[in-house]
């Protein structure tokens, strides 16, 4: 007892046969087509001989005409695996051999016997219908497998784009996906730059030796042709480029990458093992359409990020200028006015205490106006950031906070961070401290920060009641935009009863 049903054995035998038959089906190179014919001939012969033997065995137990049905097995098998032409041939051979060997009078094919013609007709119809159905289902299966493969490749590319992989890495990986998907030896992405030069954006080769031996001439010709026509291009059997010592020839197919209506570049595959299949161009085209979207997305994202950063920087610049104008203009003037009022007060003759008191009140008013102005100016742009940088600014915030603040900074005092980074960090800490003091019912706030490995990380943690939500009108929402515009991340964690933490991570470029 093997534990396997005959049907299971049959199924696995069928699968093996199908693999044997289907190796390099369709548009493969000529060598594999010959192999397929040989396989089909061998299989048909074996099947007909086997059925002949079966008919031999059953000959005396059943009406001989009914045994002709057995040949349909061969016709159907060949129709499914090798297609219509072989199935028709097998039908003819079956009817001839059956009629010749088994139908009396044996040893002769009776052309006038209508039963022979009926059998042939039935066999031919079966051959045509079955092979057509099989071809259809195979086409569908192949299309869906190809689609799945392509979708898989595209999904991987899309994931990489979404993960904000660096452009170089992304282009290399896209090249690899395309090369693997189209079974090429070499795949590369070339970009027609605005200055007219040609840039290699990504490259993949089945063997590194291939890259070392220089770019195949076919690839260059395809690149050139696409630049001229903006259409699919194909070159067959071109010699390897300048340094190609081994005399290998290449075929290359290229598809244009059109980003936002402009010819951005080309995706090119090259192969030397065999000719690239005729549908390579179409498949490449399907793929490059999505690559173009990925590039456009990445470009839009980069443009958007750059524009957001410009907006933030410009806004900061404006705020800084307003603050400075307030300081240099209104505030200085108010101070000068108070001094002059004091002088007037001192020069008044004695005996008019009412005037003196009035003047004194005006002076007091001026001084408190000055203080108010100072508060406003501080809110617009903290002056200490300009003069002292982040560390003194955060210490100033800590001192001004009504709660005790424990501040631990591991930031090099000598090297200043870029101004937008300092400003964003200042606002984050200022807002977090304000929230802790106002809403958290906290007794201590810890502010820790360090700048290393190109990242500034700052954490503000209180020991309060937690449960803060960024949606509840916290000023942090506006700051998130600012942080993200600089490529950073801001995370608020506030589990009820376990305090609130605000974590900031910003990529930094240090300024000397």
């Amino acid at each position: 007892m093997t534990g396997r049903w005959p049907s299971a054995r049959l199924a696995s035998a069928w699968r093996a046969l199908a693999r044997w038959a289907d190796a390099e089906r369709g548009d493969g190179p000529p060598a594999s087509r010959v192999r397929r014919w040989i396989h089909a001939t061998i299989a048909s012969t074996v099947l007909i001989v086997a059925i002949n033997s079966a008919v031999d065995l059953l000959d005396n137990h059943a009406p001989v005409r009914s045994l002709s049905v057995l040949y349909l097995l061969a016709v159907v098998t060949v129709a499914v695996l090798w297609g219509m032409i072989f199935a028709i041939l097998v039908s003819l051979v079956s009817v001839l051999s059956f009629s010749y060997l088994y139908v009396p009078p044996r040893g002769k094919f009776d052309i006038t016997e209508p039963a022979n013609w009926y059998s042939l007709l039935v066999f031919l119809i079966t051959a045509i219908v079955v092979s057509e159905l099989a071809a259809r289902s195979q086409r569908t299966a192949r299309a869906s497998a190809r689609l799945a493969e392509e979708q898989g490749a595209l999904r991987r590319v899309a994931t990489l784009v979404a993960q904000e992989t660096s452009r170089e890495e992304l282009d290399a990986l896209i090249s690899e996906e395309v090369g693997q998907l189209l079974s090429a030896d070499l795949a590369m992405m070339r970009h027609y730059a605005d200055d007219g030069s040609l840039r290699l954006m990504g490259q993949w080769a089945r063997s590194t030796r291939l890259i070392a031996s220089g770019c195949p001439a076919a690839v260059d010709r395809v690149t050139e042709l696409i630049a001229q026509t903006g259409k699919l291009a194909r070159f067959e059997n071109e010699m390897l480029g300048q340094r190609g010592g081994d005399g290998a020839t290449f075929s290359a197919v290229g598809a244009p990458i059109v980003v936002e209506g402009r010819l951005w570049g080309a995706m090119i595959v090259a192969s030397r093992a065999h000719d690239l299949p005729a549908n390579t161009g179409a498949r490449l085209d399907d793929f490059t359409a999505l690559v173009a979207i990925a590039i456009a997305n990445a470009k839009n994202r980069a443009d958007l990020a750059a524009s957001r950063e410009r907006v933030v920087v410009a806004a900061d610049e404006t705020r800084r200028r307003i603050e400075r104008d307030l300081h240099d203009g209104a505030q200085q003037q108010l101070v000068a006015l108070t001094f002059e009022l004091q002088a007037t007060q001192e020069s008044l003759p004695s005996g008019i205490p009412q005037v003196r008191a009035d003047l004194s009140r005006v002076t007091q008013g001026l001084v408190s106006t000055l203080e108010e102005l100072r508060e406003i100016a501080r809110g617009i742009h903290p002056a200490i950031l300009v003069q002292g940088g982040l560390a003194p600014a955060l210490r100033m915030l800590a001192q001004r906070c009504p709660l005790p603040v424990q501040l631990e900074l591991e930031v090099d005092r000598q090297s200043r961070l870029a101004e937008p980074i300092e400003v964003a960090t200042y606002y984050v800490v200022a807002e977090a401290l304000t929230n802790a003091a106002k809403h958290a019912d906290a007794s201590l706030v810890k502010v820790t920060g360090d700048a290393r490995d190109g990242m500034l990380r700052v954490r503000v943690q209180d020991d309060g009641c937690g449960g803060a939500s960024p949606a509840r009108g916290s000023g942090l929402v506006g700051i998130v935009d600012r942080v993200e515009a600089l490529g950073g991340k801001l995370v608020l964690r506030s589990p009820p009863g376990a305090g609130t933490s605000v974590e900031l991570a910003l990529p930094i470029a240090t300024q000397a």
Binding site: D328, A336, F339, Q387, G388, P392, M396, R400
Partner: protein, 125 residues
């Protein structure tokens, strides 16, 4: 005793008003400078008893000018002044070699003398 004083500030309106105020209150303003290099040169020539130094000298930082003044052979005491509040700059004021800080709105000879006395008191003890 009439102390001599050097004022370093880039706001001319404030400078005039401050000069008037301090002279009325009995201080001798022996020189004024609007930038760091003038300040260093005048301090060297005039040896004022005290230098009032604005923290925001246009594009220059008053803290840096204070350092430069301090590198002098016989440095005169420096008092930092600003329209900003002391708490805005407390960290940098503490780190600077200046005697102390006065908000411009609270500027007076009495306040200057108090700071100088406190500083010399520290020095004697």
């Amino acid at each position: 005793m009439t102390e001599s004083c050097l004022i370093v500030d880039d706001s001319l309106g404030f400078m005039d008003a401050a000069r008037g105020l301090l002279e009325r209150q009995g201080l001798r303003v022996v020189g004024v400078a609007v930038n760091g290099s003038d300040a260093v040169r005048l301090a060297h020539q005039l040896h004022p008893d005290v230098t009032l130094l604005d923290i925001n000298l246009g594009d220059e930082s008053g803290f840096e000018v204070a350092e430069q003044l301090q590198r002098h052979a016989n440095p005169s005491p420096v008092i930092l002044i600003s329209t900003y509040a002391e708490e805005d700059y407390s960290d940098l004021i503490a780190a600077s070699p200046a005697l102390g800080f006065l908000s411009k709105a609270n500027l007076s000879v009495a306040a200057i003398r108090a700071l100088m006395q406190r500083a010399s008191g520290y020095r004697e003890t």
